[in-house]
């Protein structure tokens, strides 16, 4: 199901593999590989022996799962009640919906056409029960339609694997000589009950048979699609600037959100141009909201970036990332919530300058000064993990330490004179050294240690100076000096 750009041709045997207990096993095989005799569930190394030109790709099971979940909602075009069935199936409750498509047979043809347009091969069947449909779709004839009373005859000739049983039970039934569902049906019920009285549903052929025949209830519980909240403005003639329509759209959207008790964290503004082109503007908020004025303010400078072309005649505003949201009163005296104001401010700054330029530094566990801080998103709730240092640290740090030229070096302590940014500084007093060793678990081999000094020059400028390395430490030539920060 995973579709990628470089699909192999059909005449090459390709399999998808997943990790098994003893090395990779085959997850799925294409048609050519199946013809070669390669079965899902067997080991890849064994199958390579059968078919040396076999191509193996790793399966994306989580991606398949998500795609199937999306397909569940997509299949609501045919009937309102759909659910996912295992890892590879959909179950659609088409009761009362088939006449809209011209009968059950015509509906199956329509479904197969639409699915093949998506690039999917499907095996379809209509049956009165979930179990019968499962068996017919996998082991029955193509597009089989099973009437209300025909389940007994249609299922009788299918293999016993169509009963949705687990592997040990299938093995047991095969050893008992029961190869088809019909053979299981013909066994007296009393003797089967005696044999499987304590078995679970997965291992109980009798209960599975009852489900397939409709004697045991098996309801289809459907997933809920998230409500689509959208406001749109249809215009009588093309316009070039959507700004006058935005406040009304935002208010309409927020009214809908309020009615449903929801808040949104994303807004998609879509502009449909007269020449068939479509433009998007997306904004995001850091907390879910339904404040029309705030949402409108996020679009303040973004709308101007839309290229109107020949004008547009339809504007839609859709809410994304919808969450439940209740009106809360945080304080008894009805005062406003300070945190909320802060989230609104961060939203405005993020919308205008991008989330990368609005950050909050937090401490990290590291002695190296440039690693002791980390920039995180402004409202990310992450506690400081680093401990506060007792040593004096500069107020300002340079992003990249700047090398100084030493004019007059002394054997111990910082240089007596150095040139930094084309100005000569004479060291009047200094404190140090404070030695910070490289972190061997992070740094590259050969990284030199640093000796930090707080120096004060003749004018009172206090700098944080460090020497990288020692004389003759075997990690490069003479040590170099850098300015890393400024003290108050």
């Amino acid at each position: 199901m995973a579709r990628c750009g470089n699909a192999p041709p059909d005449d090459v045997p390709v399999v998808l593999a997943r990790e098994g207990q003893h090395g990779p096993v085959i997850h799925a095989a294409n048609r050519t590989a199946r013809i070669e005799g390669i079965l899902p569930g067997s080991r890849v190394v064994d199958m390579r022996a059968i078919c040396p030109e076999l191509q193996v790709e790793y399966a994306d099971e989580a991606g398949d799962h998500a795609a199937l979940d999306r397909l569940v909602l997509w299949a609501r075009r045919w009937c309102p009640w759909t659910a996912r069935d295992g890892d590879d199936g959909l179950i659609l409750d088409t009761t009362g919906a088939d006449h809209l498509w011209g009968g059950e047979a015509a509906m199956l043809v329509e479904m197969e056409t639409q699915l093949s347009l998506l690039g999917l091969t499907a095996r379809l069947a209509v049956a009165p029960t979930w179990g019968a449909a499962w068996a017919l779709a996998r082991f029955g004839p193509v597009r089989s339609v099973c009437g209300p009373d025909e389940a007994y005859f249609k299922l009788g000739s299918l293999p016993v694997a169509g009963l949705r049983l687990d592997d040990p039970t299938l093995l047991l039934l095969r050893r008992l000589g029961l190869k088809t569902i019909g053979a299981v049906m013909d066994v007296p019920r009393l003797s089967l009950t005696r044999r499987f009285v304590k078995a679970e549903l997965q291992a109980n052929p009798l209960m599975r048979l009852d489900q397939a025949m409709g004697k045991l209830a098996e309801p289809v519980s459907s997933v809920d699609a998230k409500p689509v909240i959208r406001a749109q403005a249809r215009l009588a003639e093309p316009i070039f600037d959507p700004t006058p329509y935005l406040p009304e759209l935002c208010e309409d959207l927020c009214d809908q959100l309020k009615q449903a008790g929801l808040g949104c964290r994303r807004l998609h503004l879509t502009v449909y141009k007269t020449d068939g082109d479509v433009s998007y503007v997306d904004v995001a908020t850091s907390a879910s909201t339904r404040d029309a004025g705030h949402l409108h303010s996020l679009f303040r400078d973004k709308v101007e970036r839309i290229d109107p072309g020949f004008g547009f005649d339809l504007i839609t505003l859709a809410a994304g990332a919808i969450e439940e949201m209740q009106d809360e009163q945080t304080r008894l005296d009805g005062g406003s919530d300070d945190d909320l104001h802060l989230t609104l401010l961060i939203d405005r700054l993020n919308a205008k300058f991008g989330p990368r330029s609005v950050t909050r530094p937090v401490l990290r566990q590291s002695h190296v000064p440039e690693r002791a801080e980390m920039q995180i998103a402004a409202l990310a709730g992450r506690p400081d993990e680093g401990a506060v240092l007792a040593k004096e640290r500069p107020l300002r740090l340079l992003d990249h330490p700047e090398e100084v030229r030493v004019l007059y070096a002394v054997p111990e302590g910082p240089p007596a004179q150095f040139i930094w940014r084309r100005q000569t500084h004479r060291v009047a007093r200094y404190a140090g050294p404070e030695r910070i060793a490289p972190e061997w678990w992070k740094d590259r081999p050969g990284t030199r240690l640093r000796d930090y000094f707080k120096v004060e020059d003749q004018t009172g400028l206090r700098l944080w100076l460090y020497r990288e390395g020692l004389h003759e430490d075997g990690r490069g030539g003479d040590p170099r000096w850098f300015v890393h920060g400024m003290f108050a």
């Binding site: 300002r396 740090l397 400024m486």
Partner: protein, 220 residues
């Protein structure tokens, strides 16, 4: 009455927060930042710190360990001075902030009298302290209520080590103020107590007898 019930308490009458400008004598001098930090209100409210690109490149970024970890800092990195002013003005709408600090390099045309007037009015309306640190700039027309010039001086002697620099000392020059008398001081910053001790500058005119020779004033 109901204010006390809501846990607000009665605030002592303090000077309202407003816009102040600081001109460091040397662009790489961090004394201006130290002075601004020592004047901020002692709360745990977050600080909005807006820098333009040149300030960050030439004078570095604020280091969290140096400025103290107890209050969160939201740093906004921007490239143009106009954006810095926009972000500061937007931040001053938010009463949850403890202070807004902006750094602008040079004399950009967008930082004119009107821009500073807008900042000052917004800061006074929201009662949020707003500081504008202007490096490599000339103090021309501005609506800032207080304007300071700051330079580093040789630090005080270290109590235990004659070699080492001690508490930082700054030459403060309040050259224009709407609220108090302009003057010049030598400030010694006591890092442990987070206090600034002010002494009138030696070049100042004769001290009036009722003022006392040495004044101590708490920061903030």
């Amino acid at each position: 009455m109901h204010k006390t019930l809501a846990g607000q308490g009665v605030r002592p009458a303090t000077m309202p927060h407003t816009l102040s400008e600081v001109f460091p004598a040397h662009p790489t001098d961090a004394s201006a930042v130290g002075f601004v930090l020592s004047r901020l209100p002692r709360t745990n409210a977050p600080i909005l710190w807006v820098q333009d690109r040149l300030s960050r490149k030439e004078a570095g970024r604020p280091a969290l360990v140096g400025i103290g970890v107890d209050r969160p800092v939201i740093i906004v990195d921007l490239s143009r001075a106009a954006d810095v002013l926009w972000a500061m003005e937007d931040g001053l709408r938010c009463r949850a902030l403890g202070a807004v600090i902006g750094e602008v390099w040079g004399d950009p045309p967008s930082l004119d009298f009107t821009a500073t007037k807008r900042l000052a009015l917004r800061a006074e309306a929201a009662n949020v302290a707003c500081w504008l640190i202007r490096r490599a700039a000339s103090p021309d027309l501005s609506a800032a209520r207080d304007r300071w010039r700051i330079a580093s001086l040789l630090s005080a002697p270290h109590p235990h080590d004659a070699q080492a620099p001690g508490s930082p000392r700054w030459a403060l020059d309040l050259f224009r103020s709407r609220r108090s008398k302009p003057g010049q001081w030598v400030a010694t910053y006591d890092r442990a107590a987070d206090r600034v001790h002010l002494a009138p500058s030696a070049r100042d005119r004769a001290v009036e007898p009722r003022d006392g020779a040495l004044r101590e004033r708490a920061a903030g």
